[in-house]
Amino acid sequence: MSTISYEEFKTACLEFLELSKKFGDSWKLRSDIQDKDGLCIHKVQHIKSKSLKELKNKTTCKIDRQLEEEEEEESSDPAEMETHNTTHFTTYDYHIVYSLSHSVPVLYFNAWHSSGQLLTLDDVWEGVDVTHREQILSNKWGSLTQTEHPLLGRPYFQLHPCNTAKLIAQVLPQPPCDAATLRTYLICWLSMFGPPVGLEIPLCYFAEQNTESGCVK
């Protein structure tokens, strides 16, 4: 079993943030946490939407049409490029938080269409890519569910942490002991839990590990 304490989690996150800055990645500390002891790092990613399904939101349509101005239509401006409805994208906001009950990191995320409309749990299950579909969906409620974000108190999707310690122990048999190994722990964890929900880790993060030795021999 490979678990870490909250202090170790904090160290791992801060080290990870350094790497992120170095590689031009956009992980940041979340600044709106009320609990001063709570630490959460997050990253926002925009992905091109696969379809125009989000336009099916009926309630929006009815109200918006009333507000649509007919000839407020500015005379078409030659210097503006026509965008032909190519403006649809989905935003994913990934959060890494500590799970007290399991003593491991947990991945939470939320996703919304370019209109701002949040995705539902069914949308998210639908969106799991082919490689991970069977793994996640065979155990839907136990792996990917919606629950209250422990620090923000709002519904977020969550990858359940119950198997985290076991999984990591298979890859990193030695418990982490210093900042570098804690960072490795976090990266290893993220590389397992990120991809099923669309979060990829560039190889450069892994390459970094080899340049630093682990614990004092």
């Binding site: 994208f89 370019s114 701002g116 409620w141 569910t145």
Partner: protein
């Protein structure tokens, strides 16, 4: 123009028509968390003020192709003042909120845009924009927040001007074609070094030999003058949010307006670098950036406008029309909805873990009538809520007294004040406090009982009470008898049997309890009841199961005479009520998950082999004995002379109605007559008769 540029122009003149440079407009991207902070701001600070609020936006030039250029408003856009990270460019924004939808609709969009554009124009003409170029990427957010429904209306505008007319003779070139690898790397190195303080969005670049250096935007005239007489080239530069091969992003427009206003007297032709950087595996690559030669000569220098030119820039909505966008965040922000979906999700998780075939809907939609809002009533109500039941009606005539709150878990000390609130009402309200979406109702009603004579003055009230009770039983699917006296259970038993409702009884003894489901009788004169001598071997079908009174040979009478105070109210071991409440709720759940529902057969033997539902077999009754920690599940048939459910009694009730009931209320002897119990008594010898009712006094 320098000789060099002139030669270059001449050599490039391929006879192509100059075309207008087209920029890609921004797409707004608002973080879902932004609306939470905005709501907070509105409630705490703004309230009804319509004052403009500064909001910070950002954009990036690091996108992968395929995504539209986005003006991003993050969750903390109202609190932050400057962008924190390196690859993110700052955009100054203003948020104007209206307080009603009418205002939002009627406010002149032209005026709003003009207001925003004026600020921009002033920054450009005064030179302020050269000191802080991020104003060139300014935006307006026009909003209306409906905080009851959590609907947020918003409309972005990215102000720009129709001046100047920016042309280009050649299509923009990508870095791959225009620069060498070494040059690209040099530019990137200068761009990413922290040495020179330049605004990330807008800057100038000098090139000498193959070395690129980035400078602040305001240095451009100085650099270009110097370059004209030396071997350098000078460029304007933007961090370009667009990823298209031939079109820069919107921010170039305002830069060109600035350039035209301030420098077009000197120069009409400009080389612009639209810098785009992609990070792959930690390595930066800018080869998809653009270089474009912009020609402002179609705007004669004499016509540099002294007044602000026409402005534009409202964002189209998802349908491509000129209108606002709306996002419905009630599922994420409305506390009542949050409670509802959390409870719902919990139940679904339970189902997934316990029994995937569980039908949660049928339990949630069962309307439950709880007769008695005391120890049992409160506990049963809470258990039912745990199952997701949404309709609960509680009936009780009593008020909350000082001894109640410790045992009756919906009441608190304050409910006892001023004589005490009515239990039924207080309980119903407590349920709403627990879960706002409950449909809970409290009815203050006194249930008439056999053997409790009805005086003349009370006649009308009692008649009305009976009618109310009949209606309540009619309107609900499951009736729980949770009162504290034997005889008060008689009337609802009869009505429930006549209406073929699902009736469940729970009764407490000092350290024992009884929980049972009444059998569901077939009613009507044509029905011939099977002889009770033909007792089935292993199981009793649902329609032959007994009711609470089937095991009695005396009709329920007035049990309150000659009893001390502590015998009238139930005095039991406190845990017993919770045991009974839990069991009766789960009994309901088991019934509802059984294909035969209330007609499910019950096993005669403990652990017998009977038809099961998703939650297993459904017993007839449960008797718990706390002293010995024992739980039995006996089953018994209906009694032909039962005072509560035998054919004669039901017939008399259905035919005579209140008349019959009144006679019973006034005399239990009458009830014994009708049911046939008195005949039974006469058949038995005068010798000592063992009471065939339960050994303990069940209350």
């Amino acid at each position: 123009m320098s000789a060099r540029e002139g030669v270059a122009a001449g050599m490039d003149h391929s006879g192509r028509e100059p075309t207008i440079l087209q920029s890609v407009p921004f797409s707004s991207a608002v973080d879902a968390g932004f609306w939470h902070h905005f709501t907070q701001l509105k409630l705490d600070v703004l309230q009804l003020s319509e004052q403009a609020v500064p909001v910070m936006g950002s954009y990036t030039n690091t996108d992968t192709p395929g995504l539209p250029p986005r003006l991003y408003v993050e969750y903390d856009a109202l609190e932050r003042r400057k962008t924190a990270s390196r690859w993110s460019c700052h955009a100054t924004g203003t948020l104007i909120n209206t307080n009603t939808i009418e205002e939002f609709r009627n406010r002149s969009k032209q005026d709003l845009l003009k207001g925003s554009a004026t600020t921009l124009w002033e920054a450009i003409t005064s030179g302020q924009a050269l000191q802080d170029p991020s104003v060139l990427a300014s935006f307006l957010m026009f909003t209306f927040a409906d905080l009851k429904k959590y609907h947020f209306y918003y409309w972005f505008a990215f102000p720009a001007f129709t001046y100047p007319k920016a042309m280009h003779k050649k299509p923009p070139q990508s870095f791959t074609d225009a620069l060498t690898q070494k040059e690209i790397e040099s530019l990137l190195a200068s761009y990413t070094s922290q040495e020179v303080d330049f605004n990330q969005g807008f800057f100038s670049i000098t090139k000498s030999d193959e070395e690129f250096t980035v400078h602040p935007l305001r240095d451009y005239p100085k650099l270009r003058t110097a370059a004209d007489s030396s071997n350098q080239e000078v460029y304007l530069g933007i961090s370009d949010p667009s990823t298209l091969p031939s079109n820069p992003g919107w921010t170039l427009r305002n830069l060109l307006t600035l350039v035209a206003i301030r420098w077009s007297k000197q120069w009409q032709s400009y080389k612009v670098v639209c810098l785009r950087v992609r990070t792959r595996n930690g390595v930066q690559d800018a080869s998809h950036s653009l270089v474009v030669e912009v020609d402002l000569s179609e705007e004669p220098e004499s016509l540099i406008p002294s007044e602000m030119p026409p402005c534009l820039g409202w964002e189209k909505n998802e349908r491509g029309k000129m209108g606002p966008r709306m996002v419905n965040l009630s599922a994420n922000m409305d506390p009542t909805r949050l409670a509802e979906s959390a409870v719902d999700l919990n139940l679904k998780l339970m189902r997934w873990r316990v029994a995937p075939q569980l039908n949660l809907g049928v339990v949630q939609q069962t309307h439950c009538l709880l007769l008695g809002a005391g120890t049992l009533g409160c506990a049963v109500a809470r258990c039912l809520m745990g199952w997701g039941v949404r309709h609960i009606t509680l009936v009780d005539s009593a008020k909350v007294s000082y001894s109640n709150p410790v045992r009756q878990n919906l009441f608190t000390f304050s409910d006892c004040q001023s004589g005490g609130r009515h239990k039924a009402v207080a309980a119903a309200e407590a349920l709403l406090q627990i879960f706002p979406k409950m449909n809970s109702k409290g009815v203050v009603l006194s249930i008439p009982m056999p053997g409790h004579t009805v005086g003349e003055s009370l006649l009308n009230q009692v008649k009305e009470d009976v009618s109310t009770l009949e209606q309540l039983i009619d309107e609900h699917d499951a009736i729980f008898l949770l009162m504290d006296s034997r005889e008060s259970r008689w009337l609802p038993t009869v009505i429930g049997a006549a209406k073929q409702k699902l009736v469940l009884t729970a009764a407490l003894g000092f350290d024992s309890f009884l929980v049972m489901r009444h059998g569901i009788r077939e009613v009507g004169t044509e029905v011939s009841l099977p002889s009770t001598t033909a007792i089935p071997r292993n199981s009793i079908p649902g329609k032959m199961l007994g009711c609470y009174f089937c095991n009695d040979v005396v009709a329920p009478g007035n049990s309150t005479h000659d009893r001390t105070l502590d015998q009238q109210c139930t005095v039991t071991r406190p845990g017993v009520s919770y045991l009974a409440a839990g069991h009766v709720t789960e009994l309901l759940a088991a019934i509802l998950q059984h294909p035969d529902k209330g007609l499910a057969e019950a096993s005669v033997k403990e652990q017998g082999n009977v038809k099961e539902g998703v939650l297993g077999p459904v017993p007839h009754s449960l008797r718990g004995f706390l002293g010995r920690h024992q739980l039995l599940t006996p089953a018994s048939t209906s009694f032909d002379q039962c005072s509560g459910c035998c054919r004669e009694v039901l017939k008399a009730y259905m035919e005579e109605g209140f008349e019959f009931l009144l006679k019973v209320f006034n005399s239990t002897a009458y009830l014994e007559e009708v049911s046939g119990l008195s005949r039974l008594h006469h058949c038995v010898d005068d010798s000592q008769v063992w009471e065939l009712s339960d050994e303990e006094d069940m209350e």
